[in-house]
């Protein structure tokens, strides 16, 4: 339960106590709101007393009569607006002063309640305002968390981009100082390591581009009916040189004639990541099995490998940004730590699911389900 503070500024005691009474046990609750709201009413009989209270109590809502003994309601409104306070102002006016109500609205009043009003009229106005307060709170919260996540992402990203540069710079410095002596061959290791770090950095940049597409390119998404096997073949062909190098056999199983509504580039990103991981984290001479199936409302892509597997403690983290599982077995494998997080984001955007099960040293299974008629967001 959240309580909104309402300040009533009106010189008529009857109106003030009436409003207090009507709102005392009033609650606003909608299914879409996380919590219900109730109200605490504070009263002031003059504009001056009202402003004092605004400064002290910071109300959420202000119910404001215009005709006051000292300064006028419209001046109180002006005060609130000038100070850029986060208060929703509702003018209480008589029908006769419609003109004033219009002016007040253009000055930043949110609503006006004509006098005399029924309890129901007051309640429905307060109900609307509450919805607005709630939405505003939600938006602020979302922007806040969004900002935080972005900041975190950028700071990790800068770390990930700087690490290879630092390493390359370090080696170049050693070479410049001829730290391994005059023999050129003595520097082979350093050169190999530099090339390795450059490859890693390139992967990271390519993954970042994918991620940008996923996060910003929603408008450009081109949803078409796609034959799943075509995309699978393309991905497998792309990975062929790598799989030959690792002596890993890739086989495609299942129905060649399954169709899905999706963006082909996005599907390719999903396949590429899953299949390249299945090769990367495999054993030399291992296998990758990719199986396509169709259950009526959704299609399923299963990618199984015979690789090093993932421990139970690591399995929950693998879809997060920049997570790379570091251990003796993964030490020499490059990756940006973004691949699976991109895959997860894409699948979420299709309202699909991805599940993983794994047995260390036996292999991992990634099971993707996508609805056939992509109900895209």
């Amino acid at each position: 339960m959240s309580t909104l503070k309402i300040l009533v500024i009106d010189d008529e005691p009857g109106i003030r106590s009436g409003i207090s009474r009507i709102l005392r046990n009033f609650r606003v609750d909608y299914p879409f709101m996380e919590e219900a709201f109730d109200f605490e009413v504070v009263e002031a009989s003059t504009g001056e007393a009202g402003i004092e209270n605004i400064e002290k109590d910071k109300p959420d809502i202000l119910l404001l009569d215009n005709k006051l003994p000292g300064i006028q309601g419209i001046e109180v409104l002006e005060y609130v607006r000038k100070k850029q306070m986060n208060i929703i102002v509702v003018m209480i006016t008589s029908y006769a002063s419609l003109e004033l109500a219009v002016k007040a609205t253009s000055d930043g009043a949110y609503d006006f309640i004509p006098k005399p009003f029924t309890p129901q009229e007051l309640k429905s106005s307060i109900e609307n305002i509450t919805k607005r307060v709630f939405l505003k709170k939600m938006t602020n919260k979302l922007q806040e968390t969004g900002k935080q996540i972005r900041f975190q992402f950028l700071s990790v990203l800068s770390h990930e981009l700087k690490a290879p540069l630092n390493s390359i710079e370090g080696y170049l410095q050693m070479i410049k100082e001829r730290q391994a002596g005059p023999q050129l061959e003595s520097y082979d290791y350093m050169v190999d390591r530099m090339l390795h770090r450059i490859t890693g950095m390139r992967t990271l940049i390519l993954d970042l581009l994918d991620l940008t597409k996923v996060e910003s390119g929603k408008g450009k998404r081109d949803i078409k009916k796609i034959r799943l096997a075509d995309v699978a073949h393309t991905a497998i062909d792309t990975m062929r040189p790598y799989s030959i190098q690792r002596d890993v056999r890739i086989t495609l199983h299942g129905d060649e004639n399954i169709y899905v509504m999706a963006d082909s580039e996005e599907l390719e990103i999903i396949f590429n990541n899953l299949i390249s991981n299945a090769i990367k984290y495999n054993k030399d001479g291992g296998e990758v099995n990719c199986t396509l199936s169709d259950s009526g409302h959704c299609i399923e892509i299963l990618v199984e490998d015979t690789g090093i597997g993932i421990s139970t403690e690591d399995i929950n983290r693998i879809f997060d940004d920049f997570v790379r599982i570091k251990n003796e077995k993964t030490k020499h494998i490059t990756g940006s730590g973004l691949g699976l997080s991109i895959v997860k984001k894409l699948i979420d955007s299709y309202h699909g699911t991805i599940e993983v099960s794994s047995e260390p040293d036996q292999g991992s299974k990634f099971r993707v389900k996508l609805p056939i008629d992509a109900p895209c967001s």
């Binding site: 630092n166 390493s167 730290q179 570091k326 030490k331």
Partner: protein, 133 residues
């Protein structure tokens, strides 16, 4: 300088940084022992006592360096510890080791930027090991 070689423990999850540090530190005339993770380092110090340790801050955990530092100081209170980090430049977080409050819980003897020049690094190590250069 002392004739018996002092041993310096280097811990960093970037194998290249580790290799480069090893080369530098060995060129100063020290022995090194290496670990690529907090976990590996913890296992290593179970059996061996280094004369000084240089730890990376962010490894498996973002505060791995602090955890290791705590464990090291508990086991070997007299062994000086340097935490080498690039954190300050990246996130704006910086730890002032001379601040009394930080000193109480971090317990590292020095914080050094990762890009530190060799002579400066050597100087810091010498100071902590109380060697006259």
């Amino acid at each position: 300088m002392n004739t018996t070689k002092k041993t310096i423990l280097l811990v960093d999850d970037d194998q290249d940084y580790l290799y480069q540090m090893k080369t530098r530190v060995e060129s100063f005339g020290f022995q090194t022992m290496l670990a690529e993770s907090q976990k590996e380092a913890e296992a290593l110090i179970e059996s061996t006592k280094p004369d000084l340790a240089i730890l990376d801050l962010m490894m498996e955990n973002e505060d791995s360096g602090f955890i290791l530092c705590y464990k090291m100081k508990k086991k070997y209170p007299g062994v000086p510890i340097i935490i080498a980090t690039g954190v300050a430049a990246e996130t704006g977080i910086s730890f002032d080791i001379n601040d009394e409050n930080n000193r109480k819980w971090i317990r590292a003897d020095r914080f050094l930027e990762k890009g530190i020049r060799s002579e400066k690094l050597k100087e810091e190590i010498y100071k902590l090991l109380k060697i006259n250069s």
